[in-house]
């Protein structure tokens, strides 16, 4: 039945309302997350002014510095100020490094984005291949083997994967350096060589989850009537999955990819540390050790923002792909 222009217009606006609602709810969550991060990081008594001046400082000196830093303001004001700073690109000043937090992060963030981007490029095709192969032979020997392998990989600690990668490629085979130093100058190939092991480790961490969700998305399609129809008319299994099922499963697959990419965030904390990679996650670990709260808060908010963005993308794809919502 052809939809009349009026109803399709109504559908679009309904969809738009749905999307706007979803984005607004994401922003509200981000605000609440910021509130939690702010409250939690101020749990212990003692503040930055005290820490800067040390135990021997006079109360007057501390009071003066607190006033200068705005620490004498009520918590609500400090929170709003911090939040405004975050949004305006000025998340505060790192007492430990004696530098604006924005500058420190600006020097590290691109490295993390490169690592995450390249790992995604490796992980997505690999996960797709495993997920599709597994779904095509559902219940078969290959499927069960892949299923058990990915199930086990999901539960393997990140540092074991990184450790084994170092052991095999750096110690035994001597193909790759065991520390990921960013080459100051050099070709793209030099960069790849330096980053090969972190990329490999991160990809392995993400692929298992991603492949499992891809398999589930395709298998969910395999139970639908149109698949039975295609099967009955004699379509080969490979053609069935690649031509008939895959286009229909794209939305759930993209949804799965976006959600599994959030494993990159946690994985990066371990992988960047073990390979000494100058990224945002290793910066955050250092901030914990040196109790550099402004830096820690800013890093935490970037990671939480990235996570919420991935979840939002996954949800929006799911909404857009649902024909019942699209054509309402």
């Amino acid at each position: 039945m052809a939809a009349s222009p009026a109803s399709s217009n109504g559908g679009t606006s309904f969809l738009l309302t749905l999307l706007v609602k979803r984005v607004a709810s994401g922003l509200l969550t981000l605000f609440l997350v910021a509130l939690v991060v702010f409250i939690v990081s101020g749990l212990l008594p003692g503040d930055a002014a005290q820490e800067m001046l040390g135990q021997s400082a006079t109360p007057e000196a501390i009071a003066a510095l607190r006033q200068q830093m705005g620490l004498d303001q009520p918590a609500t004001i400090r929170f709003l100020r911090w939040l405004a700073g975050l949004l305006g690109g000025d998340p505060g000043f790192s007492m430990v490094a004696n530098m604006p937090v924005a500058d420190i992060i600006a020097s590290r963030l691109p490295n993390s984005l490169i690592l995450a981007g390249l790992s995604t490029l490796v992980a997505v095709p690999l996960a797709l291949a495993i997920g599709i192969a597994s779904a095509m032979r559902q219940g078969g020997r290959l499927d069960r083997a892949l299923n058990t392998t990915t199930l086990a990989m999901v539960a393997v600690p990140e540092f074991l994967i990184a450790t084994i990668a170092v052991l095999v490629f750096a110690v035994q085979l001597r193909w790759l350096p065991s520390i990921a130093l960013m080459p100051a100058s050099g070709t793209f190939l030099d960069l790849l060589r330096a980053l090969a092991m972190p990329i490999l480790s991160l990809s392995v961490i993400v692929v298992a989850q991603m492949a499992r969700m891809t398999r589930a998305a395709i298998i969910a399609q395999l139970g639908l009537p149109y698949v039975e129809m295609a099967r009955l008319k004699g379509v080969s299994p490979a053609r069935l999955v690649l031509v008939h099922v895959l286009p229909n499963a794209i939305a759930p697959i993209v949804n799965a990819m976006a959600l599994s990419l959030s494993y990159l965030l946690g994985g990066a904390v371990i992988v960047e540390t073990i390979f000494n990679y100058p990224g945002l996650a290793s910066l955050m670990v250092n901030a914990v050790t040196s109790r550099d709260m402004p830096l820690l808060q800013a890093c935490a908010m970037i990671f939480c923002g990235a996570y919420l963005l991935l979840v939002l993308v996954a949800d929006i794809v799911a909404i857009l792909a649902n024909p019942r919502l699209r054509n309402r």
């Binding site: 997350v33 991060v37 939690v40 539960a155 540390t273 996570y307």
Partner: protein, 286 residues
């Protein structure tokens, strides 16, 4: 029951549900039993004092006297793993039990409480669940520290929201059941309905969820210890053992591989076991 009877029971043919498990599930069950036994009896089985410098060499390989070699100070790796397992398993089990119980309790309250309370609680939990666990743990460790009780608190707090979400979806559905309506009409109080009518019917999915939560917590705590932010010396869990021996990586020393593999066999074992258990639909990871 005496120890002898216990042994006889173990030798008897496995009960039906074990026999019905697929191979991966049986492997998982074996690993889980092995690690629980190690966590309980490990320190007594340890051939050496885990703190003693028992070997002349550092990073020794596998051998007849020191089965798993020696660590970066020449301590016996087998003994250190046997006593480290207690921290990894014990701390994670305690946190997982606490997180699952508190999450389930709050979910029962939310399912039976007025709508505004349910919405507030759920909003709060949704917020906490939106902070990636590793990132949250880093903020918490920086804020309050990482002694053993604090690590227990941190792991519990981080994994309550996930347990709550699963439990709430179960409890809300069960609260609509006829037998709950009947109990209400009979004049039973909310507490009775929660504990006697709803809770027994959600135990099964919550037990599977408890297993997953245990895996997440083992991985989180060993990850923190690996970063040097978890269990602090002189105590050492399996993650700490990997960290302190990281310099042996170049030699491929057992001191670094064995504790890392120990964690993996523990978590993979639980995961395989849970996956093999017959389960109802609708439970999701989270």
């Amino acid at each position: 029951m005496s120890a002898m009877l216990d042994e006889k029971k173990a030798e008897a043919p496995a009960p039906g549900w074990v026999a019905r498990l697929p191979l991966a599930g049986k492997v998982g069950l074996g690993l889980v039993i092995f690690w629980i036994a190690t966590a309980i009896g490990g320190p007594w089985l340890a051939p050496y004092d885990p703190g003693a410098f028992a070997h002349q060499d550092v990073f020794a390989g596998f051998g007849a006297v020191h089965w798993l070699g020696s660590d970066y100070l020449g301590r016996d790796v087998l003994s250190r793993v046997l006593s480290g397992a207690r921290y990894s398993v014990g701390l994670a089990a305690a946190s997982a039990i606490a997180a699952s119980s508190i999450g389930t309790g709050l979910a029962l309250i939310a399912a039976l409480a007025p709508r505004w309370l349910d919405e507030m609680l759920s909003r709060f939990m949704d917020t906490l669940i939106s902070i990636p666990s590793k990132i949250f743990s880093l903020v918490l460790v920086a804020a309050i520290g990482s002694s053993l009780p604090l690590l227990f608190l941190i792991a519990t707090l981080i994994y309550i929201p996930g347990a709550y979400r699963i439990a709430r979806s179960q409890a809300v559905n069960l609260a609509q059941m006829d037998y709950v309506q009947v109990a209400r009409t009979r004049g039973e109080g909310s507490a009775y309905i929660a504990v006697r009518e709803i809770l027994p019917n959600m135990l099964h999915p919550m037990l599977a969820d408890f297993g997953l939560r245990f895996v997440f917590i083992v991985l989180l705590l060993s990850g923190l210890s690996f970063l040097g932010l978890g269990v602090q010396p002189p105590d050492a869990d399996l993650g700490s053992l990997v960290r302190e021996n990281i310099s042996g990586l170049g030699e491929g020393a057992p001191a670094i591989l064995v504790p890392a593999l120990a964690i993996a066999t523990l978590t993979v074992g639980v995961n395989l076991l849970i996956d093999a258990l017959p389960r109802r639909r609708g439970s999701k990871e989270g």
